[in-house]
């Protein structure tokens, strides 16, 4: 078989998994249009009305009609959800009410404007997150979006229309949609509709036509939306071919690697790569190579943003460290079996790099071997933007520069009176020493300043002729330039060493922190310690406030309201736990919270939440990866402890059960052996009639009857003990009424009274599911009771009947019944009514009741009007 066209097993598995998950999840249908006014909402509502007509439980979650009459007309027929009103800074905002939809649980919800940004104070920052939550809860959703709001297209759109798009949705939501409907009309028709006033009111229309609805714009947007739809269809066809093993032109196992840096060009590169990977059906990896030179704060934030974007758009993100960017990239590319490397063309070239090494693009092209390299150019304006912001972003403040200059001047001042003694050349050496030592306390900028200042100061104040920049002797000129050069190089080199050291130290700190956590967690012997250790480690390392809460046995988060955590925070914690997603401050869900909440998960499930309070977004974004590592470890440790606990409990339970059985067995053995001996001997004697006369035989029979009674008593006591201990196992099997009756009537003591008992079993009595031995025991007890408590001439009747779901067994006699007040207490333990010839144990009926209860049935006693007592047993079939 052609290996190229064989479906990739992983791919197939994913396909199956996808279909399986879809069963639990709600279905998402997205209506896509090129811009406002094409009729997305209208066709969405038409479909909703159709579904509603078919009897699907449909609800309008949030639809904006913009006063369009056709749309409003449709809305009239559908049940609508009232909007939630939020007040933000004195303004009332209407929002989609997610919670009441989750409460109502309809089959289908219509939520317009997928790209909408929710008002502050809502659970999620974006509406598409609301929709994801609806889908997770098994609710189908119809929604609509314009093509310009799709993340990977927004750049292109703003370039075409010149309007910056702020509200975007990640492409992944388009991908997870089960169905996409393109709502398309021609630009001419749209313009016609605009001028007819069907889209906006007259004054708004003019603005709109001038700004946005130009025919050229519309055509371009239309092409974008058509292409989006076509891409998706293409992908569906490919999926279909792959699943159904149809040979096609597709080529699997394409893997794209993109190099990501902090530059804004990278943002565009990421979007571009996503589109390409989507159309190529390739997986893609975003790689960032950390070099020893630490990025400044601005760059770090930008980098994190870029990596986050890549993650959001579906890339796998790898951060590696290497001295050399090209080597790092190639190493990852080889490990990941990449077929294509995509990088941005870097415009920045400084003097040094031009001298020391050729630029990244050229080197990558030379060294990439069989891997294709694609270079994407960045837009020039973004380059400017970068420079603008880079300047003030250096690490040291003005203060450091002043201090640095101050130190140099002070040293020079101190040396000035000495220079006549030690000579001005020695001064140069001392100043050089200062420059060498400065990097220990200063950033690179101030060091460079010092390196520049020192030779100048030396020249001006110390080298004759003094107080001029002129130098008299030729060797001094040489000395000056050497000084200048040495100071500069020493400054730069020591700074670089310091920086590397810093990075190394940081990395080591992280490794040590993780190691320490692992160590502490492995030493913790119970859940409480695991949590305490983890919280301690997190608080120490990140310098934040943090807490961890676990779920109780009932699957609910154990939260005490009296803790000094507000109820608002508690509700966020609950949400995080139930949805197993992070939320809280600096995230997209429930950002109004004070803490960031993470679900605490182990390999087998979610066990609780961890809350961390970061003070600024920058440190949060920087530390998040490491924090997640911490939490993963904690999750595993928590899981380990929980599993240990469970195993321990199971062992104790098993042990107690074993003990119980041993005790019970020996008890029953001890009690029954003497009875068995008596009965065995006496029955032997009864059978050997020849040894004795009639009166002795009578006595033997008395012994026999008494021992049978004793045996019944012992068995009743044991049964009662078993019932009360809860160790009774009901082993239901199909049984036949006649069988049951025969077994009951076969008991020796009942057999002796057989002539008093009649049985009534209807023909075609179906099989029923009960524990044969237990029900037999229950009936035997009731009948024994009837025999014992009624005069000898009384008849006992056993009746079976049934209806659709129950089996009824009645045992009745024509005796004198029991006093009404005793009826209720009949099934009580050791309760006996005063009657002369009883001889019962007072346990039989309560055992019967216990057995029937264990079958989830009922037993009741009645005095019949015709006289006599009647027991009715009702058992589920």
């Amino acid at each position: 078989m052609d290996s190229e066209s064989r479906p990739d097993p992983d791919e197939l598995l994913k396909q199956i998994k996808d279909t399986e998950q879809n069963h639990l999840k709600g279905k998402l249908k997205i209506y896509i249009g090129m811009c406002a006014g094409v009729g997305k909402t209208f066709s969405m509502l038409q479909d909703a009305a159709k579904a509603h007509g078919k009897g699907v439980d449909t609800l309008i979650g949030f639809v904006e009609t913009h006063g369009r009459s056709e749309t409003e007309f449709l809305l009239f027929y559908l049940p609508q959800l009232p909007r939630k009103t939020l007040t933000y800074k004195g303004i009332e905002l209407n929002e989609f009410d997610l919670d009441s939809v989750l409460e109502k649980k309809p089959r289908l919800v219509i939520v317009d404007e997928l790209a909408h940004t929710n008002a502050p104070g809502s659970r999620h920052t974006k509406r598409y997150l609301d929709i994801l939550e609806l889908l997770d809860n098994g609710i189908d959703v119809f929604t609509a979006v314009n093509v310009q709001h799709i993340e990977s297209l927004s750049d292109t759109v703003s370039r075409i229309t010149g309007i910056k798009v702020n509200e975007t949705v990640p492409d992944s939501i388009i991908e997870i949609a089960d169905e996409i409907e393109l709502v398309d009309i021609s630009p001419e028709e749209l313009l016609q509709r605009l001028s007819d006033g069907k889209v906006y009111t007259a004054d708004k229309t003019r603005d709109a036509v001038e700004n946005f609805f130009r025919k050229g714009n519309l055509s371009a947007l239309r092409e974008l939306s058509l292409r989006l739809a076509a891409d998706r269809v293409d992908r569906q066809v490919r999926n279909y071919m792959q699943v159904n093993k149809i040979h096609g032109p597709w080529k699997s196992s394409q893997r794209i690697i993109i190099g990501v840096s902090s530059s804004p060009d990278s943002t565009e590169l990421i979007r571009w790569a996503r589109r390409v990977s989507y159309t190529m059906n390739a997986s893609w990896v975003a790689v960032h190579v950390e070099t020893p030179v630490p990025p400044d704060e601005y760059r770090r934030v930008a980098l994190n943003k870029n990596l986050e974007l890549a993650r959001e758009l579906g890339a796998e993100v790898i951060v590696t460290s290497d001295v050399d960017v090209v080597n790092g990239l190639l190493r990852i590319a080889k490990n990941e079996n990449a077929t294509l490397i995509v990088i941005g063309k870097s415009p920045k070239k400084n003097v040094f790099s031009a001298f020391f090494k050729s630029d990244i693009v050229t080197r990558l092209l030379n060294e990439s071997g069989t891997i294709d390299v694609f270079v994407v150019s960045g837009s020039s304006e973004s380059g400017n933007e970068e420079k603008k912001i880079r300047m003030p972003a250096s690490q040291s403040g003005v203060f450091q520069y002043l201090v640095s200059a101050g130190i140099v001047f002070t040293i020079a001042l101190l040396l000035y009176p000495l220079s006549s003694i030690i000579g001005y050349q020695t001064v140069a050496l001392i100043l050089l020493l200062v420059v060498t030592l400065l990097p220990l306390v200063m950033g690179p900028g101030p060091v460079l300043l010092a390196a520049l200042l020192c030779p100048v100061i030396w020249n001006y104040f110390f080298v004759p002729p003094k107080f001029t920049i002129l130098i008299g002797k030729s060797e001094d000129i040489l000395m000056f330039f050497s000084f200048f050069f040495i100071a500069l190089v020493t400054g730069v080199l020591t700074t670089r060493i310091r920086q590397r050291e810093k990075v190394m130290k940081q990395r080591e700190e992280r490794a040590v922190a993780l190691y320490r956590l692992a160590n502490d967690l492995s030493k913790a012997v119970n859940l409480e310690e695991v949590i305490n250790e983890s919280v301690k480690n997190i608080e120490n390392y990140f310098k934040v406030k943090s807490f961890i809460r676990l779920a109780g046995c009932d699957g609910k988060l154990k939260l005490n309201v009296n803790e000094n955590i507000s109820s608002k925070e508690l509700s966020v914690a609950e949400w995080v736990y139930t949805n197993s997603k992070k939320a809280g401050r600096f995230t997209d869900s429930l950002p109004f919270a004070e803490y960031v909440y993470y679900p605490l998960t182990g390999p087998r499930g979610t066990y609780g939440i961890a809350a961390v309070k970061f003070f600024d977004k920058v440190s949060f974004m920087e530390q998040e990866t490491l924090l997640k590592n911490f939490l993963n470890q904690t999750g595993s440790a928590v899981e380990r402890e929980i599993l240990n606990d469970r195993a321990g409990k199971a062992m104790i339970l098993e042990e107690s059960e074993r003990l119980y059985k041993t005790l019970f067995d020996s008890l029953s053995h001890e009690l029954k052996t003497p009875i068995a001996t008596i009965m065995g001997s006496v029955s032997f004697l009864i059978e050997r009639k020849k040894d004795s006369n009639a009166s002795v035989q009578e006595l033997y029979k008395e012994i026999n009857t008494a021992s049978i009674r004793l045996n019944v008593l012992v068995e009743n006591l044991l049964d009662m003990a078993r019932l009360e201990s809860g160790k009774l196992v009901v082993n239901k099997k199909p049984c036949e009424a006649r069988d049951l009756m025969n077994s009951v009537l076969d008991k020796q003591d009942i057999k002796e009274n057989k002539n008093r008992i009649t049985a009534d079993i209807p023909e075609n009595m179906p099989l029923f599911f009960v524990d044969f031995t237990l029900i037999e025991q229950a009936l035997v007890n009731i009948i024994r009771n009837a025999i014992a408590y009624t005069p000898d001439e009384t008849k006992i009747k056993l009746q079976f009947s049934h209806d659709g779901s129950y089996l009824y067994i009645t045992v009745s006699d024509n005796g004198i019944g029991v006093p009404e007040q005793d009826l209720d207490r009949l099934f009580d333990k050791f309760y006996r009514i005063e009657r002369k010839n009883s001889g019962g144990t007072g346990l039989g009926l309560s055992i019967s009741k216990g057995i029937i209860d264990a079958h989830k049935g009922t037993i009741n006693a009645y005095n019949m009007t015709s006289g006599g007592l009647k027991f009715v047993i009702k058992l589920p079939r």
């Binding site: 029954k672 068995a676 031995t773």
Partner: protein
């Protein structure tokens, strides 16, 4: 009695029960050997070549079930298990691991002797049964003809195999699981309802009073027994 020279081994930890059994069994003409624990019992079961073993399930030094399995490793001697009520599960396991019958303590000596006789009769190797007669039931295996009170009764093939199984084990208890496995095959060994239906049909066709069967009797919680009508 025709059971002279039959050795019976009693394995029970209770001396009183051992004495009782010795007296009553010897009175019926059996030669009786006694063992008070599993170790002795296993030794004796080799030494005294018993024709039948009475085995108590509650032994002090070893679980009766495992003794049962050990006996079956070297011998096909019929074993009747002695046990207390409420241990149906143990009884079924014992039967499934090779014991031939069971009797619950306290027992009636007459009943015990009848079980012993049925067991010994069953294991006479020369006894091949082309024809089987029990009460007014008559089965001819060569022609597969079944008669009740000299009247031919038609059985379906499943009913006949069920009947044949009962006859092969006449007088002895057989567990639900065993019957289902033998007649319907292993995958059906949990489908007790099949069995209930077919036993009811056999009773209808072969018993003189199907609602009060005397031949195909139910052993509650364990299985069925074809009683020998004497």
């Amino acid at each position: 009695m025709n059971c002279m020279n039959e050795n019976i081994l009693v394995i029970d930890d209770e001396i009183q029960i051992r004495r009782l059994l010795k007296i009553s069994l010897e009175d019926s003409g059996y030669k009786v050997f006694l063992a008070g624990n599993a170790k002795e019992g296993l030794q004796e079961s080799v030494n005294c070549r018993p024709s039948l073993i009475l085995l108590d399930l509650g032994l002090p030094d070893e679980d009766g079930l495992s003794v049962m399995k050990k006996i079956r490793e070297f011998s096909e001697t019929p074993v009747i298990v002695l046990s207390v009520r409420n241990s149906e599960k143990d009884i079924v396991s014992a039967l499934d691991s090779g014991s031939n019958d069971y009797i619950t303590k306290p027992f009636n000596t007459g009943e015990l002797l009848a079980r012993i006789r049925a067991c010994l009769r069953l294991y006479k190797p020369e006894q091949k049964i082309p024809q089987f007669i029990n009460g007014n039931l008559e089965v001819d295996f060569s022609t597969r003809e079944v008669k009740v009170s000299d009247k031919i009764v038609k059985l379906t093939s499943t009913e006949f195999s069920l009947l044949a199984l009962f006859i092969r084990n006449a007088g002895k208890v057989i567990t639900h699981g065993y019957i289902l496995k033998e007649v319907w095959g292993k995958p059906f060994s949990d489908e007790v309802q099949y069995l209930r239906v077919y036993v009811a049909q056999l009773r209808k066709k072969l018993e003189s009073n199907p609602s009060n069967p005397v031949m195909f009797v139910t052993e509650s919680g364990i299985g069925y027994r074809m009683k020998i009508i004497e």
